[in-house]
């Protein structure tokens, strides 16, 4: 455990301050813990640099052990980077257009239905599948929309052009009193130029109030490169982290947050549509630190 490792290193210091030398020793353990949690190397290095600056110049409090104080500096900094305690994400009122994007298998289709279920009292949702690639992707969303008790754009199932589907869905939503539009897209990699061009085109067809990158909480080091590319090519407004019911420490959450600066709105905690929660930085911070 990180606390045990830190106390082994900081042990008993009688100094009034956390000195540069014992902070550096402690940070080496923190760095290891963050890498073991799958936080991206570059994000770890930046975090350690900022946390070190915060730790130095901390007066040692008489009421807590140096270890507790050091850990608190780390924990507080992690919570701050993850969005700060007490910060709550909220969707705009009135008409709402949401675009979901992300890597293959990250949980976008399931998340589309989860978002709708969570907010169906505030909006009349139409779920749209713009995934013309994955076998039975549209059928999957159709079934989930039914389970969530929200609308599904059935006409899209006969079309084979994502651009055309989104255009027709937008008109259909307007003409039929849907004030919540959620567009589910095919999984894609940032290294696939054609697919990145497609999602860029889709992002211009509708005035999207939210564009969420849906990331798997078990993602590894390359998530940084992926989400940077997505964010650079068309503005993400938020993040959703799925599969937090796994035993991953979830360092990917820190990575995607650090790289985009965008809020993590929700986390997926299971396969059922109810397994969807508001994101709390404190919980994820403790989990990442192990």
């Amino acid at each position: 455990q990180l606390t045990a490792r830190i106390s082994g290193i900081l042990g008993s210091f009688g100094n009034k301050k956390l000195t540069e030398s014992n902070v550096r020793d402690g940070m080496r353990e923190v760095r290891l813990a963050l890498l073991e949690a799958d936080v991206a190397v570059k994000v770890v290095d930046d975090f350690i640099e900022n946390a070190t600056a915060k730790a130095l110049g901390e007066e040692i409090l008489r009421s807590v052990s140096p270890t507790q104080q050091f850990i608190k500096v780390i924990y507080d900094e992690l919570v701050r980077v993850m969005g700060g305690a007490g910060q709550q994400f909220s969707l705009r009122k009135g008409k709402l257009n949401i675009l979901l994007c992300g890597l293959q298998g990250s949980g976008k289709t399931t998340t589309a239905a989860k978002i709708a279920l969570m907010h169906k009292k505030q909006y009349r949702f139409l779920l749209v599948s713009a995934d013309t690639y994955r076998p039975a992707a549209m059928e999957q969303l159709r079934i989930l929309a039914g389970q969530a008790g929200v609308g599904f754009f059935e006409q899209g199932m006969k079309l084979n052009n994502p651009i055309e589907i989104v255009r027709k869905a937008r008109s259909f939503a307007d003409e039929n009193g849907y004030n919540g539009l959620i567009i589910d897209t095919a999984g894609r990699m940032e290294v696939d130029d054609a697919m990145m061009k497609e999602i860029q085109q889709i992002s211009k067809l509708v005035k999207f109030d939210e564009t969420f990158f849906v990331a798997d909480a078990t993602a590894g080091q390359s998530i940084v490169q992926t989400v940077s590319a997505f964010h650079a090519q068309f503005n993400l407004t938020g993040l959703v982290l799925t599969k937090f019911d796994s035993d991953t420490r979830g360092g990917a959450a820190l990575s995607v947050k650090a790289v985009t600066g965008k809020p993590i709105a929700w986390v997926g905690t299971g396969e059922k549509l109810e397994d969807f929660e508001i994101f709390y930085p404190e919980r994820i911070a403790s989990r990442i630190l192990g």
Partner: protein, 278 residues
């Protein structure tokens, strides 16, 4: 990634960066590098460039330690795919069915994911692409019952390869692991003399070190014969392959390199090792 003309310290620093950013994991990286340092010491290898080529050779030797099984035998072969949600099992089942059918085998697909929305429909489309029959039941059916029926059908129609697709599940979900063990038990109960049974975990190359935790955990629950690592067409390098081979002794049977029916290829250790340093 490996620059030429470097000091030993530069070499070891770069090496740790390459391995960790490839998702080998920091703990496994340190133990691999420690073993290499010991070997380099014993063989008196010095200088950045010499260490570099020695390390590549060291990894090539490591990954060749285990050999992937050949699917086949006198009787019927059953290949069960398992793994966490979204790793690529269903797609891989389709690709495997296609390549086996192309090499002349009589293949049957079994849709043992009776839980997730449109899972059987997804596999049905793949069975069409592969040109092989599919056994499926209604949504919510018992996955064990699907497997039981599939193996009866395979026996009756003399199929020589049954590919079983299972529902995604996390290794820390006890009830789901127990369900998998139940499916496994049913398969084993239907095997006859001469039949072969292969259990393979499908791992997502874009996952972090949890991929290794998955492999280790599932291997304890249901002894695995090999892994298939998917999505290697991404920017991820699949570093999980090193601890998979070194710590679990599990070979990599195939790698997934895309979403098309032909995008599943044999794992070539040397080529993969070199890709880490590109």
């Amino acid at each position: 990634l490996f620059r030429s003309r470097k000091t030993e310290k530069e070499f070891y620093d770069e090496l740790e960066e390459i391995l960790v950013t490839s998702d080998v994991g920091v703990t496994v990286t340190r133990s691999i590098v420690d073993s290499f340092r010991e070997l380099a010491g014993r063989q008196a290898i010095t200088g950045g460039e010499a260490l570099q080529s020695a390390f590549v050779a060291f990894l090539e030797q490591l990954v060749s330690r285990v050999v992937a099984p050949e699917i086949g035998g006198p009787g019927m072969s059953v290949l069960m795919l398992l793994g966490v949600n979204g790793s690529g099992k269903t797609t891989t089942a389709g690709k495997l069915a296609r390549s086996a059918a192309e090499s002349g085998r009589s293949v049957l697909l079994a849709a043992a994911d009776t839980f997730r929305a449109a899972a059987a429909d997804q596999l049905a489309e793949w069975s069409t692409r592969a040109g092989v029959p599919l056994v499926r039941q209604q949504a919510g059916a018992d996955p064990g019952a699907v497997v039981y029926d599939a193996l009866d059908a395979a026996r009756a129609r003399k199929h020589d390869l049954v590919i079983v697709d299972t529902a995604g599940r996390f290794h820390n979900r006890e009830n789901l692991v127990r369900e998998l063990q139940k499916i496994d038990k049913i398969v084993r109960s239907k095997l006859a003399e001469g039949d072969r049974y292969y259990r393979m975990i499908v791992l997502d190359a874009t996952a972090g070190t949890n991929a290794f935790t998955q492999a280790r955990s599932f291997h304890e629950a249901v002894p695995l014969d090999a892994a298939i690592v998917t999505k290697l067409d991404s920017s991820a390098r699949g570093g999980v392959i090193l601890p998979l081979i070194a710590d679990l002794g599990l070979p990599v049977f195939r790698i997934g390199v895309g979403e098309g029916v032909d995008d599943l290829v044999p794992f070539e250790g040397t080529a993969w090792v070199h890709s880490l340093f590109e």
